[in-house]
């Protein structure tokens, strides 16, 4: 083989939000860029997402929420990973997220937050950089 390592990432939809257009598009774009992608489907609890990330041994977790519940839910995913000694898996997120929440989310351990209109290339680049770390 000797080729590049294949990175594994998880795309998760925590909470009750059913808007999965963005999550699915990103999952597919990542696959097209050579990532292995686990997509959780909608309406998962933070605990379910953290457990899936650990069991699937992923390099990065990407979360999507458009219902305004990102503060609670993104934070809980970070905490659930910590609880299971998997805080080395970086968490990033995206959705309808106001500027002021982004700072707070970063303080709580979310590495990066994307808002609507972000070019796909930039998102993929972030996944790759975090995987390489």
């Amino acid at each position: 083989m000797g080729g590049k390592k294949v990175y594994r990432v998880l795309i998760g939809k925590p909470g009750l939000d059913g808007h999965d257009r963005g999550a699915k598009c990103i999952a597919r774009a990542l696959r097209d860029s050579g990532f292995e992608v686990v997509y959780t489907g909608i309406r998962r609890t933070p605990e379910e997402i953290a457990m899936a990330a650990i069991q699937e041994d992923v390099d990065v977790v990407g979360l999507s929420s458009l219902s305004g519940a990102h503060m609670e839910l993104f934070t809980e995913v970070v905490e659930a990973l910590k609880k299971h000694n998997a805080e080395d898996i970086p968490v990033i997120g995206g959705g309808i997220i106001p500027e002021e929440d982004i700072e707070e989310l970063k303080k709580r351990g979310v590495k990066k937050v994307f808002t609507p209109g972000t070019p796909m290339e930039e998102i993929i680049k972030t996944f790759r950089e975090l995987c390489e770390k």
Partner: protein, 547 residues
């Protein structure tokens, strides 16, 4: 020039009856320069082809509109979708909107309500009051409609899996206000099939869900005859990424499934068929959208008449609500969204919509503020009162381009519907993942076009500018959830819990059998059984769907 006999016949038999009952807004309609505007422009010669494809408004196949006078008698209903935090805050927003000239209500429920969880359920954490108002029991619903007379307004409720519960609560609030059931006007979305492919607020598997929907059709025809029992929705399918053709095809295919299920249950298509309504998206691609609305009307008329044997003309009419396209709003240069919404709203009006929601410019960032909601409503009012497009009917009808596109959309959507039929119908197509895949492919292609600049989005991938505008944010703070949970506790302590349990047990037994569930749900609701308790009983009997 002599008047065409078929036009004359329409004037005598269709138009005159309606004019007698609903006079037009003005004696005569003129352009701003004083030129007279005809009610309906028609070709010099009316041939069989014209009659078959277009006909006259209010006449089969309704391509040119469902009413013979359209907006000359009454504008579309201006209905802004709203709801946030608790019933109290939302009630205040409704009364504000009604004061501003809005003509109908549209309730946005939060996700726990839409998925049948009480506010204190573990899955509700963080979601209470966020995308809509939190409703746990009748007590919340009473506050939601406080000082809003239900015999005067029509209310649309975006509720699907638990539609029966919210309808029961609405009926109960009406009773408390002294408004009899048969006078209540409104719409419940009640369209579960699109939830499995696009919107995600399903609870039960498809088959029991269809039973509840059929129960609602039957119960409403006897109890709330003015209520639209369903709003068969393409809106969310389009938001999830579909094309216009797919939106029409999947929506009408879903419609066929509901109609067939109800007919199989022994209901009369000419009775329940009149209370079906639709809900479509309006994007900025004006001409395609106008063609889409016209094609959908013609297709549904033919389907109801030819496939299902409907004889009542009202059962053949596709009446629809429109919302402007949320997915086209940008977080960049948000003032541009006002322009997008105006174009989209114009498309809906040119397409003959019965009611309209215009999005607010800030919705790619936050829940809309009061100011931005007002501008969105004003956009509709400007189209209605200033643009003049509401003074004649189907003003783009007869345009070579619009007619060609209308035909094309009908043809392609019909082909796609046939494909679904060949697969064994919508449920089989959902189970095979066919519809979901079609939507995903279109969404991905759309995104690819943006990335490669095949599709320009002003302010996003072209004409960007450095901005540092502070957008006012409407935030639902954590206190809302705490307050709602506390309130729920109080309600549970203050009601007659023995009676609650009795009504829930009766509902459970009914769900296990074949009875209509509506009366049981109404009884439970009146005892202040919560939405979580009622849906919990049904979850126990019907099981849960998971994608």
């Amino acid at each position: 020039m002599s008047v065409d006999p078929r036009y004359k016949e329409w004037e005598d038999k269709v138009l005159s009856k309606v004019l007698a009952r609903f006079p037009e807004r003005k004696k005569e309609f003129k352009t701003s320069g004083g030129l007279e505007l005809p009610r309906l422009a028609i070709p010099d010669e009316i041939d069989d082809n014209y009659m078959e494809k277009l006909g006259f408004p209010g006449q089969y196949p309704y391509t040119r509109g469902v009413q013979p006078t359209m907006y000359r008698s009454r504008f579309w209903t201006m209905r802004q979708y709203a709801g946030f935090a608790t019933a109290k805050e939302t009630n205040e927003r409704y009364r504000y909107l009604l004061e501003q000239g809005q003509t109908g209500l549209s309730v946005a429920f939060d996700l726990p309500t839409q998925i049948g969880y009480d506010s204190d359920h573990p899955m509700s954490k963080g979601e209470v009051g966020k995308v809509g108002v939190a409703i746990d029991s009748l007590a919340d619903m009473e506050i939601l409609f406080d000082q809003i007379p239900l015999d005067k307004v029509s209310t649309s409720m975006t509720i699907n899996s638990p539609a029966a519960v919210l309808l029961a609560m609405y009926v109960a609030v009406g009773e408390k206000q002294g408004v009899p059931r048969e006078k209540l006007r409104g719409t419940i979305q009640n369209d579960i099939l699109k939830e499995y492919v696009a919107r995600g607020t399903y609870i039960f598997p498809p088959r029991p869900s269809l039973r509840i929907i059929t129960n609602i059709f039957e119960w409403c025809s006897k109890n709330t005859p003015l209520f639209n029992t369903i709003s068969i929705s393409g809106y969310h399918i389009r938001e999830a990424g579909s094309t216009a053709v797919q939106e029409v095809a999947f929506t009408l295919a879903n419609g066929c499934t509901y109609v067939q299920t109800a007919i199989d249950a022994g209901l009369d298509v000419d009775v329940f068929g009149k209370r079906l309504s639709f809900f479509f998206n309006a994007t900025t691609d004006i001409i395609e959208e106008v063609a889409k609305f016209r094609a959908a009307r013609r297709m549904w008329a033919k389907i109801m008449k030819n496939r299902f044997g409907a004889k009542d003309k009202k059962a053949c009419m596709l009446r629809f609500h429109t919302q402007t396209a949320g997915h086209t709003l940008t977080a960049q240069q948000i003032d541009n969204n006002v322009v997008r919404v105006a174009l989209q709203a114009l498309a809906a009006v040119l397409g003959g919509t019965q009611s309209l929601h215009t999005n607010s410019k800030d919705e790619a960032l936050t829940l809309p503020t009061e100011d931005s909601v007002r501008t969105a409503l004003r956009t509709q009012q400007i189209i209605a009162y200033e643009s003049g497009v509401a003074n004649s009917i189907d003003v783009l009808g007869g345009s070579y381009l619009v007619e060609q596109l209308t035909d094309k959309i009908e043809e392609e959507a019909t082909n796609l519907m046939e494909k679904i039929d060949e697969m064994g119908g919508v449920i089989a197509a959902i189970e095979a993942g066919f519809i979901q895949r079609q939507i995903e492919d279109s969404a991905y292609e759309y995104q690819r076009q943006i990335e490669t600049k095949d599709r320009i989005i002003v302010g996003v991938n072209e004409f960007q500018s450095k901005e540092s505008v502070k957008v006012p944010i409407l935030k639902i703070d954590k206190e809302v959830e705490n307050r709602q949970v506390k309130r729920l506790k109080e309600i549970k302590n203050n009601r007659d819990n023995t009676k609650v349990e009795k009504t829930l047990k009766a509902l459970e037994d009914a769900a296990k059998g074949n009875e209509n569930l509506m009366d049981y749900i109404v009884e439970a609701v009146k005892e202040y059984a919560t939405i979580g308790e009622i849906c919990g009983v049904l979850r126990g009997v019907f099981g849960e769907y998971r994608d």
